[in-house]
């Protein structure tokens, strides 16, 4: 038994993190970023693409060019499987044991919102989380990574109830912060048009089977059905809809979902689906930034297809680099925040020019898309989310 005690103590003492100096992630040669994300579970694909193929892709190119002010950028990620409790534990480990400078591109409203308070107390910046809950807005150390749900909803409802003249809406939504933040935004925006949200069916986070919910929604006969889900159940909803022959409702996906990923899972059941896209077509767009992304993807991670998740991570990396550049050689957390706030009308070559105001929203626009031959085609120009 005492050998065992010695062994455990030795394991702990021998671990690299034991003799740690109090330097939060910035050395002469390196900046350490990290985040808790999904590498298993319902968002395994999007999580991997976002971080290891997105953020890391941008930093690969950046590091090869010498980094920012002579510092290379390194990243560590831990898997939370889309579970808020694990996200908090991982984030704590990253901050306290690994000593990251900032959190970059964590994913999912429930896990991200769970870590907000801890990060705020520890004054660690959370940069560009891939989630849309408005709970992150207006916090000193948080900058959004996606168009937030109230802006998305405004653009979607104004487009659908306005020029498209739809009146009956339903929603299939994930039963947590992700789904509920959209639901309340929909209700507000529909109210402005004198309309109400009709049938809504909740889907438990992590499950794939939504046949019962789809059957119930069909009975309500909506003209538009919103899908506020992760790719798995969303694709299932499309397949189920095809199976029961429910053709008279337009299926509309929200921002984080609108990508060919879930279309691929649904196969030919994805015809006619529409949605709000928050990033340009990663495969076809000829925006200079997107072309550069494709070139680098081909060079460093050739086995990966372009998708909006890795593009989003790539953009997040780009935004961090810009902030770090503007902050100067002396890099502190407060300095980074101040530097990011100076970004006005900055052209990324990917999305419309970025202006970061006091609400710390980095992206505010999306455009309408509709599926044609398995890919989303743009149906509108960039819509505005401000009145």
């Amino acid at each position: 038994m005492r050998q065992l005690v010695l062994l455990v103590v030795a394991l702990l003492v021998g671990s690299p993190g034991f003799a740690r100096a109090a330097d939060p992630g910035v050395t002469d040669t390196e900046i350490l970023l990290g985040g808790s994300n999904s590498f298993s579970g319902p968002l395994a694909f999007t999580g991997t693409q976002l971080t290891k193929v997105g953020v890391d892709l941008y930093f690969r190119g950046l590091n090869e060019g010498g980094g920012v002010h002579g510092r290379r950028i390194r990243t560590i990620y831990y898997d939370d499987g889309y579970r808020p409790q694990d996200a908090v534990a991982n984030t704590r480990k990253l901050v306290e044991q690994d000593g990251i400078f900032a959190v970059i591109a964590p994913q999912g409203s429930p896990p991200v919102v769970a870590t907000l308070e801890y990060l705020e107390q520890s004054r660690v910046p959370m940069l560009f989380p891939f989630q849309s809950s408005t709970a992150t807005r207006g916090r000193k150390y948080v900058f959004s990574g996606l168009v937030l749900s109230d802006r998305q909803s405004r653009m979607m409802i104004d487009y659908l109830a306005g020029p498209r003249k739809f009146k009956r809406f339903a929603a299939l939504y994930q039963d947590d912060e992700y789904g509920k933040s959209f639901l309340s935004a929909f209700e507000t925006d529909l109210g402005r048009h004198g309309l109400k949200l009709g049938a809504t069916e909740p889907v438990k986070r992590g499950v794939t089977d939504v046949s019962a919910q789809v059957a119930k929604l069909q009975a309500a006969k909506p003209e538009v059905t919103f899908l506020v889900l992760t790719p798995g159940p969303a694709a299932q909803a499309l397949k189920e809809r095809q199976k029961i022959g429910w053709t008279d409702s337009v299926m509309v996906s929200t921002g984080p979902l609108t990508d060919e990923t879930y279309l691929g899972l649904a196969g030919d059941a994805s015809e006619g689906v529409e949605g709000l896209a928050t990033l340009p077509d990663p495969l076809r767009s000829d925006q200079p930034g997107v072309k550069l992304y494709r070139e680098q993807l081909q060079k460093y991670f050739p086995k990966n297809e372009p998708n909006r998740y890795s593009l989003s991570g790539y953009l997040a990396g780009m935004m961090f680099a810009e902030g770090a550049k503007r902050a100067g050689r002396t890099l502190t957390r407060d300095g980074l925040v101040a530097a990011l706030e100076t970004i006005k009308g900055w052209d990324t070559g990917i999305v419309p020019a970025i202006t970061i105001g006091p609400d710390h929203d980095t992206q505010k626009q999306g455009f309408w898309v509709k599926v044609e031959n398995g890919r989303f085609k743009p149906l509108s120009d960039w819509l505005k989310s401000e009145p």
Partner: protein, 303 residues
């Protein structure tokens, strides 16, 4: 010699927050909490042979009870909160144990599996109380005028509770209850034939096991600081089983050792999450094939 080693171990344990960085204090606290769960699980599975696949459910009940109590009654001193968490969980254990009396082996494993799931579903659905799937932030524990705001303070609390629970468990082994447990484990039918009321003792084992795990759950809530029901899944229950199988079924110190190894291993593998089930599965198989008595048996052989 053994006394010197124990003495050194006790000093190291007490001085740990002064020696180690905060993250490792947190890790040691987690070891203490998991040790209490492992001992509780051992009481059920190690002694009376009722394999439980649902102990994450008991942990969840204890954790949420403590969290909700602290939210609603913040002035409640933490020992009372932990006691309440244990009692509530113990009651649930009673409610589960009685109908499960006539089940054993596979059927009991299935029933506990279902129980674990129903608990997390229940917690998710009571979302007015628990915040459902979004998760619940646990306020800091209070002891009179003090708030347990540092890793060190929580470590000492966990250490004290774990020490008390270990002593209690070691003492049970020597009592009539303990001997009855052992008799039931060796052969329930023979024990019954010798006049041991197997049903009563199996129920006691259930309740005690649930109580232990509930108290650990309360500690767990304060240590981890944030709860969400999806973290208390069957895979967590399996983690606890690995702890007691690795440590050796029926051994209190084995449970502690198993808890320590699994907790530290889990943390070391944080960057290699995909490999975790592979390693744990291999540990289970290796234990069963080569060292069925676990670490306890290995150390017994040496001494």
């Amino acid at each position: 010699m053994a006394l010197a080693a124990w003495g050194l171990g006790a000093v190291a344990a007490l001085a740990w927050p002064l020696l180690a960085p905060p993250y490792f204090v947190f890790l040691a606290t987690l070891v203490a909490v998991n040790a209490v769960v492992a001992i509780g699980l051992n009481l059920l599975s190690g002694y009376t042979n009722q394999l439980s696949f649902g102990h994450a459910g008991f942990l969840a009940i204890g954790a949420y009870t403590a969290a909700i109590l602290t939210l609603r009654a913040p002035a409640l001193p933490v020992p009372l909160t932990l006691l309440a968490a244990g009692l509530v969980t113990g009651l649930v254990g009673l409610a589960l144990g009685i109908p499960c009396l006539r089940l054993d082996g596979l059927y009991l494993a299935m029933a506990t599996l279902a129980f674990g799931f129903v608990v997390t579903e229940g917690i998710t659905n009571l979302d007015a109380l628990t915040h459902g799937n979004d998760g619940l932030r646990v306020p800091l524990a209070r002891l009179g005028p003090w708030t347990l705001a540092t890793d060190g303070s929580r470590y000492y609390l966990a250490l004290a509770v774990a020490a008390a629970m270990i002593l209690a468990a070691l003492n049970v082994a020597g009592t009539r209850t303990g001997r009855a447990f052992l008799a039931i484990r060796t052969s329930e039918i023979a024990a019954q034939a010798s006049g041991v009321n197997a049903a009563a003792y199996k129920t006691v084992a259930f309740v005690l096991s649930a109580f232990y795990t509930g108290v650990a759950g309360g500690l767990f809530a304060f240590v981890v600081g944030f709860l969400s029901p999806d973290a208390f899944d069957v895979f967590l229950s399996v983690d606890f089983l690995v702890m007691i199988i690795l440590g050796g079924l029926g051994s209190v110190w084995g449970a502690v050792a198993g808890a320590a190894v699994v907790t530290v291993l889990n943390d070391s593998l944080a960057g290699l999450q995909t490999y975790r089930p592979l390693i744990f599965g291999a540990i289970l198989i290796a234990c069963m094939l080569f060292v069925p008595g676990g670490l306890a048996a290995m150390t017994r052989r040496q001494s």
